[in-house]
């Protein structure tokens, strides 16, 4: 039976969620709505007595102080505050979409009734929006339709109904409706004949969203053509042709997302001089090679490129893991669910890293088109404003509800991210160095160990996520590729996992992410019997280590798919295997611990299922209802995909330079104030403040610092162990716009930004580790990507820079990921993201009490600039604001930067520096402005002493004449603005001798920033005026 219960606010004054909806309608849609009310509806599908329904409604679902409730009849129309509306829009989930509130309600009902509910007993939730027209203009049905599809519901995952006032009068209320999934489908596995010709093979790959190339399809064809295999299959009761299960498993395992084929490819690279270079795997040649080279000076490396995340030593007995991921395609289609899945997904990478780490911090970096974008939005894409709001809400809810602080991040704007928003999510974890007397980063599987899956159930959600993310978005992108996160189910799973780890109940753990069980078990099966002992090379779905790693000998698993718990009946075996339904981890549990493992899971409210066993026969086998449906050679599955061969040709672009008279007669003050309001520079406070950034109590430097805690800090510092002073610094660098000139320097600058941000708070090169996350447009030349050779050359150059600067800085890479198909559409309408590298840095420091923040602290302190300023305006924020690009992209001088960083670290450690802030987007002016605003103090500054170089003999800084605008806005790298107390000046300058470093002014109590360049007054404005410009664009 169905019981519909509706709950709403008694008093509109306490209904702030409805007010928020209203302001969004008025500000973003400009529709004539005067008032909104929101009603929550619960549809209970279970047998209930009247008194039980009443108890549930009144005691569980309603707040007796602020809400009213009605059972079996509409709440709307029962009181003046919810009557006489013009339209009502009700939004509910499509059947099968994760309904988190429904699930919690169900648990509450079971507690309240004191009885166990069956799988048939369900709760479905929906939301009703009552809309009242404005006085002067009536809301139309078309308006209501716009709001339903653009604001209230995402038609991809939700359904909606609209009722006008008249319709409601005729028949009030929305009838109770079950959201149950009912497939009439009888699950089965079928064999699929492989066509003989290329056209047929391509068609098969396209139709089944396998995202396999023709070479890969041919390799599969060849594998199945082997008569010995056919005989073996016949003996096992399998057809000669592949089963649907096998084909799907191969497609997931070979997907770009899991296999990182582009990073593993053979590349024929032609540089700007026309010289050709053969590169065998970008990953091996640059990324892994850099870390190998640095390894001798980084003895604190524990595990790199082999697991879900990289691990470094942290403190005596404790290690730190970190991983960053992207979730771009799902976030484009369902920004809320996609982004939430991004953050809780990378949390699972950490939970599944080594023997299981406790997630202790999150980071997030978003790249979007302008929220003020006013051109038409292509089919299937959402307006960037909606993307921003919903992605932010998804990451916020995912992180906050999981109890993991979001400590560091940024939002980058460029209209090309309309094609695909980039959603980077990172997580760090803490793990004891030893678990059960063994190094915690090592794990193994013994043949005979049970395959146990724990956490959420499997549904059709997220099917083909891995293959779909390996293709461009089009109008026809599949809707099933979206998942919705459920942070609470995962929080329970994570708590359970750490408890089970400490009890020694499992031998191996990994997460179920892209590719689902097919990917996690496929990778785990390789470990069975020590097949991959030594762990050299291949990652677990996570790292872009790519194929070509040591081949596996033996290993294997035998899986019984009908034992996997499903959200609803009717899934085919291949769907069970590749579903990316969230919140699941896979374990290898020794048989002797199985009952203890299961019992603990039950006590923690976590569902766990024994799905089969690991073997050592070299086969990945799956059964369904007793019948074998998949039997693949592990060797073929993991090593059988043909290598890609790619062409890359670097032709440096030439952009127009500004005219020679450019700097004469400019209103630098007005331009400086305007720059404070540039999207990449302005305050993001109202967004960042919605992240819980200090749960777990480790926070030492927060995202906001300064007198009123609204200055943007350079890096986060946390204290993972409450009773020790050691700290972890977390920072990042990202600057995609420089790719328009040269992705080599884009990469160098991103890396340097991450490092200098870490150094600004007190980190020292030598104990800094890096993570590289590439998000590239498709770099494979084809009909739809005619400029593939150029994009591939950008990728090569980016990797070259990564190698050069990691080696120069002694900075090992510990983990990374690449997302290579960030495009929308085809042909001339294609929108490709700018080549983007997010560089994340984590650094260990010995004493958190020596760290410093970026805000000016007291009047009278001296203002210094560290690092040389050059005329490097190319692709700067200032140039872009004037529609210019230029060619003089900032370049990093690693040698002088490294020397400067060491000296600055010495000065900070000696307690000589009061504040330090890095110069990045917008240059010196923006850094100065932020230092003053954060400290609520003014400054008097003279740019004439700005250092441009260091005299090699004397070690003294040299100034030179540069246009004032260049001094203010050039984005030269490796620079800082510092404040130093007068009594520390001599000691400070002594330490900095040999690096570019000059006094340029003084902090003053008068709240005004005054800048001169020699005799010329350049800028003078009050902090209030600066705050207004800086806050305005994104303060909503």
């Amino acid at each position: 039976m169905l019981t519909r219960i509706e709950v709403g606010q008694k008093n509109p004054a306490t209904d702030s969620p409805a007010r928020k909806v209203l302001s969004s309608i008025q500000e973003n849609f400009h529709l004539p709505v005067a008032r909104v009310a929101v009603i929550a509806a619960y549809t209970l599908e279970m047998e209930l007595s009247d008194s039980e329904s009443r108890s549930i409604a009144e005691e569980l679902l309603t707040d007796p102080i602020t809400e009213s409730v009605s059972i079996h009849k509409p709440l709307a129309g029962t009181s003046p505050s919810n009557s006489d509306f013009d339209f009502v829009v009700e939004v509910g989930f499509k059947p099968g979409v994760t309904d988190n509130v429904g699930r919690s309600s169900r648990e509450g009902i079971a507690d309240l009734l004191g009885r166990k509910l069956t799988d048939e007993d369900q709760v479905f939730t929906s939301r009703q929006f009552l809309l009242w027209s404005g006085q002067s203009q009536a809301l139309t049905r078309a308006d209501a339709e716009i709001l339903a599809t653009k604001l209230f519901a995402n038609p991809l995952i939700e359904t909606y109904v609209i009722r006008s006032r008249e319709e409601w009068k005729k028949s009030p209320g929305i009838p109770a409706q079950s959201g149950r999934v009912t497939f009439k489908h009888q699950p089965e596995s079928r064999s699929i004949d492989l066509p003989d010709d290329d056209a047929g093979l391509t068609k098969l790959s396209d139709e089944k969203i396998l995202a396999l190339t023709i070479a890969e399809m041919r390799a599969i064809k060849a594998y199945y053509a082997d008569p010995a295999l056919t005989a073996r299959r016949a003996a096992a009761g399998l057809p000669a042709a592949p089963t649907d299960v096998e084909l799907e498993v191969i497609a997931q395992t070979w997907s770009e997302h899991c296999k990182h084929k582009i990073f593993a490819a053979d590349v024929d690279y032609t540089d700007e001089k026309g010289e050709r270079h053969a590169i065998h795997s970008l990953f091996k040649t640059y990324i892994r090679a850099a870390t190998e080279k640095v390894k001798p000076v980084a003895p604190w490396l524990k595990s790199v490129f082999t697991d879900n995340a990289g691990i470094i030593a942290f403190s005596d007995g404790w290690d730190i893991a970190m991983k960053a991921e992207t979730h771009n395609s799902p976030s484009a289609l369902d920004p809320y669910g996609g982004a939430m899945t991004g953050i809780v997904g990378v949390n699972r990478d950490i939970l599944g890293c080594g023997m299981g780490c406790k997630p202790i911090f999150n980071t997030d970096v978003f790249c979007f088109a302008s929220p003020f974008y006013s051109k038409p939005i292509p089919e299937k894409l959402h307006h960037p404003r909606r993307i921003l709001k919903e992605v932010h809400r998804g990451v916020r809810d995912g992180g906050n509800e999981s109890g993991i602080p979001t400590v560091n991040g940024s939002i980058v704007f460029d209209d090309r991210f309309l094609g695909k928003p980039l959603v980077f999510c990172g997580t760090g974890g803490l793990i004891p160095s030893e678990v059960g007397g063994k190094p915690s980063w090592q794990k193994s599987i013994e043949p005979g160990d049970r395959i146990v899956m724990a956490g959420g159930r499997i549904g059709k959600d997220g099917i083909h996520g891995a293959t779909f993310s390996s293709a461009a978005l089009t109008e026809a992108s599949p809707t099933s590729a979206v998942q919705i996160g459920d942070p609470i189910t995962q929080k329970k799973l994570g708590d359970f996992l750490l408890e089970a780890r400490d009890l020694g109940l499992y031998r191996f753990v990994t997460d179920n992410g892209a590719g689902g069980l097919s990917s996690s078990l496929g990778e785990m099966a390789k470990e069975s019997g020590g097949a991959q002992a030594g762990h050299d090379g291949q990652g677990i779905e996570g790292n872009h280590s790519g194929p070509g790693a040591e081949s596996s000998h033996g290993g294997g698993c035998k899986l019984h798919l009908e034992k996997a718990p499903l959200k609803y009946a009717g899934l085919d075996p291949w769907e069970i295997l590749v579903s990316e339904a969230q919140e699941r981890m896979s374990f290898a549990v020794p048989t002797e611990h199985l009952s203890a493992f299961m019992e603990l899971a039950a006590r923690r409210g976590v569902e766990a299922s024994d799905l089969g066993e690991f073997t050592n026969d070299g086969l990945f086998q799956a059964y369904f209802q007793g019948k074998v449906v998949c039997s693949l050679d592990m060797d073929f599955l993991h090593e059988g995909n043909p290598k890609l061969h790619l062409q890359a040709r670097w032709t440096p672009p030439r952009h127009a330079e500004p005219p020679p008279s450019f700097w004469t007669g400019r209103d630098l003050k007005a331009e400086a104030l305007e720059l404070l309001g540039a999207l990449n520079i302005c305050s993001k406070e109202s967004w960042v403040r919605q992240y819980d950034h200090e749960v777990q109590g480790m926070s030492v430097i927060k995202p906001f610092v300064g007198e009123k805690a609204d200055g943007p800090s350079d890096a986060a510092v946390i204290r993972p162990l409450y009773d020790r002073k050691e700290g972890l610094v977390v920072s990042h660098g990202i600057v995609p716009r420089y790719s328009d000139i040269d992705a080599y320097h884009m990469t160098a600058c991103a890396l340097d930004e991450a490092v200098r941000n870490a150094v600004a708070v007190g980190a020292r090169p030598g104990y800094i580790a890096g993570l590289d996350n590439f998000c590239w447009p498709d770099p494979v030349e084809s009909e739809s990507t005619p400029d593939g050779q150029y994009k591939m050359a950008q990728l090569v150059r980016s990797n070259q820079a990564l190698y050069d600067y990691c080696v120069a800085y002694g900075l090992p890479l510990i983990s990374g990921k690449d997302s290579m198909k960030n495009d929308y559409g085809r042909g001339k309408d294609r929108i490709s993201v700018p080549p983007t590298l997010l560089f994340t840095a984590i650094a260990k420091i010995d004493d958190v009490e020596k760290t410093i923040t970026m805000d000016a602290k007291s009047a009278g302190d001296t203002v210094y600039v560290l690092g040389a300023t050059h005329d490097e305006m190319g692709a700067s924020e200032y140039f872009l604001a004037r529609g210019l690009m230029g060619n003089s992209v900032p370049k990093v001088d690693a040698k002088s930067a490294l020397a400067l960083y060491h000296r600055l670290a010495d000065a900070i450690e000696a307690g000589l520096v009061r504040s330090a802030h890095d110069c990045s987007d917008g240059g010196l002016f923006i850094a100065l402005a932020e230092v003053c605003m954060a400290g609520r103090l003014g400054a008097k500054v003279d740019l004439s002493a700005l250092p441009v170089a260091v005299d090699g003999d004397s070690g003294r800084s040299v100034s030179a004449s540069l246009p004032t605008g260049v001094k203010l806005f050039s984005e030269s790298q490796s620079r800082f603005v510092l404040t130093v107390q007068p009594q520390h000046i001599p000691a400070f300058e002594k330490i900095l001798s040999g690096s570019a470093c000059a006094r340029i002014g003084q902090i003053q109590s008068s709240p005004t920033l005054e800048i001169r360049d020699g005799a010329a007054a350049v800028f003078s404005a009050g902090l209030d005026e600066m705050f207004t410009c800086w806050r305005k664009p994104l303060d909503w």
Binding site: S16, I65, N100, S402, R604, E694, G697, D723
Partner: protein, 278 residues
């Protein structure tokens, strides 16, 4: 003397338990993080603890309403143990989500109701609902304690600086009368105030000092007997001086201000044990 034992309840999305346990440790107690399902199973029994703490978090994801589903679980699965503890005068604290739980359970602000009917022992009499801003926020707030209040947790605390991290922290009493009763009984032991400790004015200008629009700027309340205390701000998030947002500028080191609240309860339990022993 033995250190007071503290049950720090965990499970179902509670997430501030580790730092809360550490805060109690710093305050001189012997805390144990214990899963609610283990308490329900009686392993261990809740009755063995000197202090009960419900930490912050997102129990059941704040679904339906913050704290409601967890309160529902306590009410239907641990009612006897909670009744006994309240009757025996065991100090209890609910922080953020824990405060929401105790309010939705009805233990705050009224304490345990006097009733022979078990179903009537717990009845919600106030609420914590959506912030006026309509969103979750993490920000530090200046708080003024009521030195006249008999709340054992806030004893001697005139001023304290703590972060809030919530989306549903607006305290609303049932009606004007019950608000007056809370004032009269000294149950409003913690209020949001200005940076200099002054009263906040009414209306929107009080934001963000009053971060959620709470009636009478209420940040924390206690039961009539002063033993059960709930607050939206997080004292356990200021357990170390380096948690303070301006610790560098102010030169702070060592223990954080938040520990004072926990030490008050530890000392209360200690002196009560001494009194009993004597």
């Amino acid at each position: 003397m033995q250190k007071p034992t503290v049950a720090v309840i965990t499970g179902y999305g509670i997430n501030s338990d580790a730092e809360l346990a550490h805060s109690f440790k710093l305050a001189g107690a012997d805390p144990l993080r214990v899963h609610i399902n283990d308490l329900i199973a009686g392993k261990p029994s809740l009755s063995g603890f000197d202090i009960i703490a419900v930490p912050g978090g997102f129990s059941f994801g704040d679904h339906i309403a913050s704290g409601r589903v967890f309160a529902n679980k306590l009410k239907h699965s641990l009612a006897d143990a909670l009744r006994d503890a309240a009757q025996q005068g065991v100090p209890m604290i609910g922080i953020c989500n824990g405060f929401q739980v105790l309010v939705k359970l009805g233990l705050l602000p009224g304490g345990l109701r006097k009733s022979a009917d078990k179903a009537d022992l717990f009845r919600q009499d106030a609420t914590l609902t959506f912030n006026d801003s309509g969103r979750f926020e993490d920000r530090w707030c200046h708080l003024a304690g009521d030195l006249e209040s008999h709340c054992i947790w806030t004893r001697g605390i005139a001023r304290i600086y703590l972060p809030i991290r919530h989306g549903e922290g607006k305290f609303i009493p049932r009606d004007a009368e019950s608000l007056e009763a809370l004032r009269r009984n000294g149950q409003i032991c913690l209020r949001y105030c200005t940076a200099t400790g002054d009263n906040l004015g009414e209306g929107e200008s009080a934001y963000p000092a009053n971060p959620n629009g709470s009636v009478d700027h209420i940040a924390g309340v206690c039961s009539p007997d002063g033993l059960i205390f709930g607050l939206m701000p997080h004292p356990e998030a200021h357990m170390l001086a380096t948690n303070h947002p301006q610790w560098q500028k102010l030169g702070l080191r060592g223990e954080g201000e938040g520990i004072r609240i926990f030490r008050n309860a530890v000392e209360y339990v200690g002196s009560r044990k001494l009194a009993k022993a004597g």
